[in-house]
């Protein structure tokens, strides 16, 4: 067993980078604008599906299709956002789960459009298969060739992907850090603190909330695209509500209202989630391999509850601020 195989950890790091983008979307919606969106995964689904359908069915070039994918995610954000920004937080939370599940069921049922339960493999019907991410693989290949002049044989498409994902994540973090500190971010923080006060000084609360929701939707869509390219194939099952919960976990692990804690949260989450795949040592080796899968999910749940009890403010959070919130 080669626990430190770099190729494997490259993969884990790519996934962590994608999670950063995903969680950043929630950060904008929840931590900045105070919208508890539990259906974030719907934006991923819509973007990924739009992109794949356009590439496979309409033979659109990948970049154009990707842009349409993001547009679709933002459009879904509008559709959900316009009515839902006025809901009370607890109703919004449940309504957004419902919206996310609706998107997933539609992806399952509209087989003529989405390939049905088979996912992107079935886009052209049961017997034909065209991959949507040839263009992306091409890009990574070219990038890794370009990199090989610098890195030599260490340049692989996987590392190119790592580079792409993390530079994107880093750039987005930087952009949103700036946005958060810009006058725009100031208004959003004010809205999170007290909507009435923000209204009283002439800020259109609903409009700002909607902007945050849409930005979050775009980020969710981007994460969906990256995931689709990274995995190569996706199906409706990939967009279960669990993924949104994971994104919230990342926010909480890092520290709820800390933008720069998102990568930390994503790293911790990835380590936890990947690390539990290695639960084969003694005494767990005595348990049969099938039961270990249940033990693994059990321990994910257990660690989550434990973490919430011991360190509710997250790794980088400030406990006092947590209490100030109430």
């Amino acid at each position: 067993m080669d626990v430190f195989n770099p190729a494997f950890w490259t993969f884990v790091a790519i996934m962590a980078g994608i999670y950063v983008v995903l969680a950043l979307g929630l950060y904008v919606q929840f931590s900045l604008a105070g919208l508890p969106n539990f259906g974030h995964v719907a934006f991923m689904a819509v973007a990924a599906y739009t992109m794949a359908i356009l590439v496979v069915r309409a033979a659109m070039p990948l970049p154009v299709a990707a842009i349409f994918g993001l547009v679709a995610a933002v459009a879904l954000g509008c559709l959900l956002g316009i009515p839902s920004v006025r809901l009370r937080a607890d109703y919004l939370a449940i309504a957004s789960v419902a919206a996310g599940e609706m998107v997933r069921y539609l992806a399952t049922n509209l087989s003529w459009l989405t390939g049905g339960p088979l996912g992107s493999v079935g886009l052209l019907g049961p017997a034909r298969f065209v991959s949507y991410n040839a263009g992306w693989q091409d890009l990574l290949d070219r990038l890794s060739r370009a990199l090989s002049s610098v890195l030599g044989s260490a340049a692989t498409p996987d590392r190119a992907m790592l580079l792409v994902v993390w530079s994107l994540a880093g750039a987005l973090l930087w952009v949103f850090r700036r946005l958060e500190r810009s006058p725009w971010g100031r208004v959003l923080r004010a809205i999170r603190e007290d909507e009435t006060a923000a209204t009283a000084v002439g800020k259109h609360v609903a409009a700002f909330k909607l902007q945050a929701l849409l930005l979050g939707a775009a980020l969710g869509g981007l994460a969906g695209l990256l995931l689709a390219w990274q995995i190569g194939v996706f199906s409706p099952n990939d967009f279960e509500p669990t993924l949104t919960f994971y994104a919230y976990l990342i926010l909480i692990f890092g520290g709820m209202n800390r933008l720069w804690a998102i990568p930390v949260g994503a790293a911790v989450f990835s380590l936890l989630y990947t690390g539990t795949q290695f639960l084969t040592f003694f005494p767990l080796s005595l348990v049969d391999s099938g039961s270990r899968a249940f033990l693994r999910l059990f321990s994910v749940g257990f660690l989550l509850v434990l973490f919430m009890m011991i360190r509710p403010q997250g790794l980088l959070g400030n406990r006092r601020e947590l209490l100030l919130e109430k």
């Binding site: 725009w184 100031r186 923080r189 007290d194 209204t199």
Partner: protein, 268 residues
């Protein structure tokens, strides 16, 4: 007339919080709105400032119809309010609280900060300067970097006051500006209110319970009780108005003695 209110009515359930109210507020005046608890004063403020939608009636501000408009639109048109319990943004710095309230910052439009960073920065500098000026005015510059949540109630009132001024209002609605403020600060605030009108040309419309304050600063007093307007006039006239006294203290009691004599209360 800067503000004209006509036949304003708002009911909650069966209770009329504002019942066919009509009054004006003159430009450049300090007008007080008083009345016993539950008279509907704050409701009137909420109606004027767009936080509530009237059942019927008209509100004109600078000749523009305002009734039913959203609160932020009302504020941007130059009519800004404060709250009874100050609504400062507790987890933002005092300075940020003020910066937030400035209008015409292009950086509040998503993306404009990237397209025209210079204009944003220039405006931000202007706003910043103005905010410091306001903080100087309310003598809070020394706490400008602190979380607003760390301030005392009286200081919060001042922050909210300064924040309202950042909007550059033509008229400001102050909901009990003196409540919970230390006596020393009350005088200071009084000065600010008068200064507003005298030097900045801002019309002031305030709800206040401290009658000393009301009588000493206001040009005119409007008295409400149970949603209705019961008196409207200069302070002296109001002070001696029977209806007003009755509204506050209740009607002169008919059955005076309950038969029990005064008691000596044991006091340590």
């Amino acid at each position: 007339m800067l503000l004209e209110v006509r036949r304003l009515t708002k009911r909650f359930g069966g209770v009329a919080a504002a019942d066919d109210l009509s009054f004006d507020v003159e430009e450049g005046s300090i007008t007080a709105l008083i009345g016993p608890n539950g008279a509907g004063k704050t409701t009137v403020f909420n109606l004027i400032s767009g936080f509530l939608r009237p059942d019927h009636g008209e509100i004109r501000f600078a000749k523009r119809r305002l009734e039913g408009r959203r609160g932020d639109i009302v504020a941007r048109s130059g009519l800004v309010r404060t709250f009874q319990t100050p609504r400062v943004l507790t987890r933002m710095s005092v300075l940020d609280n003020l910066l937030l309230a400035a209008q015409d910052q292009p950086g509040e439009r998503l993306g404009l900060g990237w397209i025209m960073p210079r204009r944003v920065a220039r405006r931000e500098r202007e706003i910043h300067a103005r905010a410091l000026e306001m903080l100087d005015l309310v003598r809070l510059r020394h706490v400008s970097d602190q979380y607003a949540g760390a301030l005392s109630g009286g200081q919060r009132k001042l922050v909210e006051f300064a924040r309202a001024l950042m909007v550059m209002p033509r008229m400001i609605l102050l909901d009990e500006p003196m409540a919970g403020v230390l006596p020393a600060l009350v005088l200071q605030l009084l000065d600010h209110v008068q200064d507003l009108r005298d030097h900045r040309g801002v019309t002031v419309f305030l709800i206040e319970h401290d009658m000393d304050v009301v009588m000493s600063v206001s040009d005119r007093v409007i008295v409400m009780d149970e949603g209705r307007l019961i008196a409207d006039g200069p302070p002296q006239a109001i002070q001696n108005d029977d209806r007003v006294i009755e509204a506050y203290l209740g009607p002169a009691a008919q059955s005076e003695s309950s038969g029990k004599g005064p008691r000596e209360t044991p006091r340590g």
